[in-house]
Subunit: 380 residues, 2 copies
């Protein structure tokens, strides 16, 4: 199987990830932050080390400002729902995933005002469109770092400047960039950063996290046992406990740590270089194929390693089915949980065929994908 | 290490659990319910099979009425917060864990009325105390199946009868019983069943679930991509998608499935027999030791495999520290995230030393624990 569905979840993971999880479960599978015996302490320390690794990767001062979640969706829900109140106004874009749009829409029902800024047909945001929609009650701007449909990279620093100037909180959805593109929360002015553990960070599914800037007041979504202040019937306010009720996903978090260690050892710049080169090669070759339409920016500097295409007027599901059955290539067709993005680029009807590249994708994989697209385009 | 902290998380797990997770990640680590290629379909099927196993274990008709959560705490939050509205009245007990009490307390702040029924000093509930607190606006009764502090087993069927008679929804926290005690949601009249995956069910940490009775309207806590109805900006209403936004913890769920398969193969009755026999032996021997006070019911039929004690007036943390350092025995001291339970049994000041037995606990483990308690009691 040629796996080109890394935007859904990266596969394979580095062997170290599987090994770290296996070892942690087998050798110290106790409940971290509870009890206090050797195994529980070892598990607790291992989790703290992963917080430190994430802090290192995203240049976060205090690892305690990182909370673990079960995926990026949960992190986005916590940020959006924990911050906004009826009467507040939020701005987002038409390129967002449903993990941003659906929580915002649900807050709209509760009295939050929502503006969805329309992007252009390549998925680019016009900064002026953000600026002109700012109102007195604008509390939050949420944007993706890169679109999961077109790969369009957003100008985070520029958006953040607008947010800062207007005293607005800026939340970034790094689902498609964490682990591949540089993220420096200070330098980029990110107040809330939601990230999945199982995509570019190379951890297992079931992991993700949210960085919350020091001092930002966010309500928790869940209460429960935190192993701290157990005498109280109210949730402790201190981070990360406030947001981490119940037993954490210890093996998952430890696997995530192994994934991040792999990235730090390898160098994020090298991983990016590899993925960008393959993306460029893929796009350059696709351009030459008859009937193929590529979506998103043609400039590779603005294009994350997600390549969405259509072939003639074929339905994306049909083509993906053939890619899977005949060519043994795994891609993702359809709407990618981002209906407005597809409306924005004009593909709401048929969807697109999305190829997404990961650190273990090879030139040979891409050659085979090019060959398959050529053959399909000849036959229709 | 003699591990007697199974009420926090079971350890070790059956080897099949580690293996199943490893294999699933290595061989078909794709994103279930998305895409549609072979690997994604295989992951999706594997998750569905775990839903079926859970349905089999708890005698649930439709596996789609089971939703996966990251732990029992999340399941309890979804049930409590998804059901109650301002003006509703809820009844719970003084033996509950903070994963029940804290969400209820947070709903109290939003205008839900709350009655916490006081249990006796062994942790037993008096059914009349539930009945006499029912009001016209009582919508929910939540109780544990067995206390995580005293092991006291609650009369679920009797409470459920009271709930049914008064048209009240009954939610059960099976944190200490799922996988060890028989649970039949139909026969026991359970409307909402919250369970952890990583305790008696022998799955990994990061797993849990909620059974929602057919037709019961529960609001979701999170929205996001579900891989279904991707054209809509609103959360789909169908189960389990409504409650399962974002990429699921696939390896964790598959590990949970392996844990449940182990239980079904071994026979839950045999696992229970083993744990109950060890618990009885442990309690019988502890009774003979000077200065040891055992909490909870002395009748083993009413006592889950959780044995909490104190030795003289020693602080529970001190004794647990010695058990860990000197005797290499892992237990959990303190309040166990259940402050009202400790007030109920009179141990709020010093906590208790909790020994909890699992399917892999041996007679030798218990003998060593008895020996250690004897030595400590002689030395103080």
């Amino acid at each position: 199987m040629i796996y080109l569905d890394n935007a859904a979840t990266s596969y394979p993971k580095p062997d170290e990830v599987y090994e770290a999880m296996y070892v942690s479960m087998k050798e110290y599978g106790a409940n971290p932050g509870r009890s206090g015996h050797k195994l529980a302490l070892k598990a607790g320390r291992a989790i703290y080390e992963v917080r430190e690794l994430i802090a290192k990767l995203f240049k976060i001062d205090n690892p305690m400002n990182i909370i673990f979640t079960s995926n990026a969706t949960e992190a986005l829900n916590i940020g959006i729902k924990g911050l906004l109140e009826p009467g507040d106004h939020a701005i987002t874009t038409s390129m967002e995933h449903n993990s941003v749009l659906r929580p915002l829409k649900s807050m709209e029902e509760k009295g939050v005002e929502l503006t969805i800024v329309q992007c252009d047909s390549e998925g680019n945001i016009n900064l002026e469109d953000i600026e002109k929609n700012i109102k007195e009650n604008t509390k939050l701007i949420v944007t993706t770092h890169a679109s999961n449909v077109t790969g369009t990279i957003f100008p985070i620093k520029d958006i953040s400047k607008i947010a800062k100037k207007n005293n607005i909180i800026y939340m970034v959805d790094a689902a498609q960039t964490a682990g591949v593109y540089d993220i420096d929360v200070e330098e980029m002015g990110i107040d809330l950063l939601a990230f999945p553990g199982h995509k570019g960070l190379l951890g297992p599914q079931g992991t993700g996290g949210l960085y919350i800037k020091e001092g930002l007041m966010i309500r928790q979504m869940k209460e429960g046992g935190t192993g701290s202040k157990s005498d109280l019937l109210t949730q402790p306010e201190m981070l990360p406990d406030k947001f981490e009720s119940g037993t954490p996903n210890t093996p998952g978090i430890i696997g995530l740590g192994a994934g991040i260690k792999y990235i730090l050892d390898k160098g994020i710049v090298n991983i990016r270089k590899h993925e960008v080169e393959l993306t460029k090669y893929f796009m350059d070759e696709l351009k030459k194929i008859d009937k193929v339409r590529i979506y998103g920016p043609m400039d590779i500097e603005k294009h994350a390693p997600v390549v969405s295409i259509n072939i003639g007027n074929e339905d994306s599901s049909e083509v993906s089915y053939v890619l899977d059955k005949v060519f043994n290539i795994a891609v993702r067709p359809g709407l990618h949980c981002a209906p407005l993005a597809h409306k924005t680029i004009g593909t709401f009807e048929h969807g697109v065929i999305r190829f997404s590249i990961g650190p273990f994708t090879t030139t040979e994989d891409i050659e085979k994908a090019i060959d398959a697209v050529k053959k399909i385009s000849r036959e229709i």
